[in-house]
Symmetry: C2
Subunit: 409 residues, 2 copies
């Protein structure tokens, strides 16, 4: 399918016709870095979202869930970084409502078509003066090449902005999908729904009704953002929004070949950003793919892969260039997955390190060379069934501890 | 109950009459530190054990499980640190059998009365020459005050040896319970059974049959070793053995007041060592007690407490003296526990930081003073039921990463 779409250089949400964006310094961050972003669709757009499953969902998450439930079209998204507006009660929800109202007034649109997202410190009430200052600056700055500015403004501990876009032909008509994301910490794939501490805003000019949009987004999130882990923590603010403004005129209906082409292109953008989130994970120096294959059930494969991906002992070993397959075996063994340890093989980038539950005899000096690389794959073969699962993980370094022991926005 | 028993100064497994121990340099550790311990009971002792639930259980764990299943009395335990003898297949099991045979021959006892335990690197085959050297040195060194030498020889990344003993009167007869443990890393309370990366050897001169011994050990392990976490990883080698040689003549029968007194004294020793294992956890600078109270079910209370205790974001915040209650709330919220976030209170050493799901208004500068302390308690009150749970956790520091990125025994 990969030849059906192509990535656009410096792609972003505003690579998609009909979308504008901006990123400005509102004043949330002490560092003076950009901290308020606005995404605007000239036409009201069909919308879908996936959100954190944390019970302490932030006020903007609760607000957006309700908004999408009503089936509203969305025309703007106001995003701040610095204050999460989580654990802020009624006052927090009021702040989101006011943010939507002020954004709508500034843009001359309905408040019901404004989504809001936040990231930053939990438990602090929103500063509405800073929101207003952000809007005063961001509305006039809206631009059809502002996507990368917006991507920069939603960063917290991210070291690089993360945006992408692909172009795909749907029935001969060029369709674009753009996106931006922030990640870095509180990142974990989970049990159900979306489990990464992240914000992601996806735009497209395809013409798709929101139920199909929601279906595609949920399915693709399971195979992209839900496959990543940095620290095993899940955020109160995880939000992925997908807006389709229909500007291209390419109509996509459920069950058609066009829907499949679009869904694959959408997955490519989401996987591209998911991968980059892990690579830019807090203190991360490595991207490690964990594959569990031939497990007895999908659940066993997932439990086992996520156990390795979240093992602090494995993650610190990878940081230390230590191929220590014993820690991988231990993490598989305590994962809760059912398998026969005497049948289990482990390989690192194709190099066998454990065979049938014991040492494969590969000299450690050889295995070290693979673990030193910035990217490698650990494959665990249970030889025990037909079910596979994979996860992208990062290592845990001194910098992870530094960032999270010192983090005060 | 606490007035019914007293801790013995410099107590150890050999504080108990009839037990001898030694700890020697066999040659497993490159550092030249003691790495082989022997525990010997002059009389065959009734025995009970709890072990890791990891599917890749080490060879000595598999061996001891079988030994205890047969109901054998135990007279000696041979323990090495440096090689875990896990993921070593048939050859690993043969090595355990040989170790038991050589130990038995040296001591003039039956091989069926010798237990074996190992800790160290996973995946390396046992070096039987070093075992023999260890036995050559350890047997003549056996001494009735060798318990603390043995405690030192079972250490891996532990910074201090950990042993204890209590004396308790049972029907007017003085009874002693002694123990030694090693912990430090791969420590996590789990789902069922024993889930801490640890070795613990407990001795007593009470006269108790093994079924009652097993019952008491399992119950007490749930309330001591299964309440601790350092890094959320579970080991292949976790072993807790309890030997009762009956030398005191104090007979303890199920359901009697004597059994209750003994069980409480045993719990005191186990909790003492569990606590010290967390305090001496790899890179640990703090002991944090997590209490979840008034949850809807026992399962909800446990899920919530363990989620906070294992949250990397909480643990790094504690290291950084950051009271960041938002991270605690997030960890409760994604734990899978069912509760009403709008009723949830969080306090640190009695100081409210979150009230009914929102900021309690305590200035951060005040909360910081509590989190700076080497020990503090985080209490999460769900106001939603009658079930409580608690866990002891540690922080995650630069040293944790250093130890685990560099660890090669």
């Amino acid at each position: 399918m990969s030849d059906l779409f192509e990535f656009i250089e410096n792609g972003s949400p505003t690579s998609v016709p009909g979308f504008k964006a901006s990123g400005v310094v509102a004043g949330f961050k002490r560092s003076g870095a950009p901290d308020f972003a606005l995404l605007f669709s000239e036409r009201p757009a069909a919308a879908a979202g996936v959100f954190t499953t944390c019970l302490f969902a932030a006020a903007p998450v609760r607000y957006c869930r309700e908004l999408l439930k009503k089936g509203n079209n969305i025309q703007a998204v106001a995003i701040n970084s610095g204050i999460a507006n989580a654990c802020t009660g009624k006052q927090g929800l009021d702040a989101v409502r006011k943010t939507a109202e002020r954004t709508a007034a500034k843009l001359g649109i309905s408040p019901d078509s404004v989504a809001v997202a936040s990231t930053g410190r939990i438990g602090t009430q929103m500063n509405m003066d800073i929101i207003s200052r952000g809007l005063d600056l961001a509305v006039p700055a809206l631009s059809s090449d502002g996507g990368n500015d917006a991507a920069r403004a939603i960063m917290t501990t991210d070291t690089v902005p993360k945006a992408a876009a692909v172009r795909v032909k749907i029935g001969g008509v060029p369709v674009t999908i753009g996106a931006m994301t922030k990640g870095a910490g509180m990142i974990n794939p989970g049990l159900a729904g979306l489990h990464a501490t992240m914000l992601c805003f996806i735009t497209t000019d395809a013409c798709i009704e929101s139920p199909l949009l929601a279906e595609m987004l949920e399915k693709n999130a399971q195979n992209s953002f839900n496959r990543i882990t940095v620290d095993g923590d899940m955020s109160t603010n995880d939000t992925v929004l997908l807006l389709a403004n229909g500007v291209s005129g390419a109509v996509i209906r459920k069950g058609t070949p066009e829907a499949e082409v679009f869904e694959n292109a959408l997955l490519a953008v989401m996987k591209n950003l998911a991968r980059r989130m892990v690579k830019d994970g807090e203190g991360s120096t490595k991207l490690v793919t964990i594959e569990v294959v031939n497990a007895r059930s999908a659940r066993d494969a997932k439990l086992a892969a996520e156990s390795v991906a979240n093992s602090l002992l494995c993650k610190t070993a990878w940081f230390g260039n230590d191929p220590n397959w014993g820690r991988i075996a231990a993490a598989l063994g305590y994962s809760g997955a059912a398998f026969d340890p005497d049948k289990c093989d482990i390989s690192i980038d194709g190099l066998p390190v454990m065979t049938r539950g014991g040492d494969a005899g590969t000299p450690e000096s050889v295995a070290v060379e693979h673990v030193k690389k910035p990217e490698f794959t650990i494959r665990c073969d249970f030889h025990d069934g037909d079910f596979d699962y994979w996860v992208w993980s990062s290592d845990v370094s001194y910098d992870y501890v530094k960032i999270n022991a010192d983090y005060h926005t």
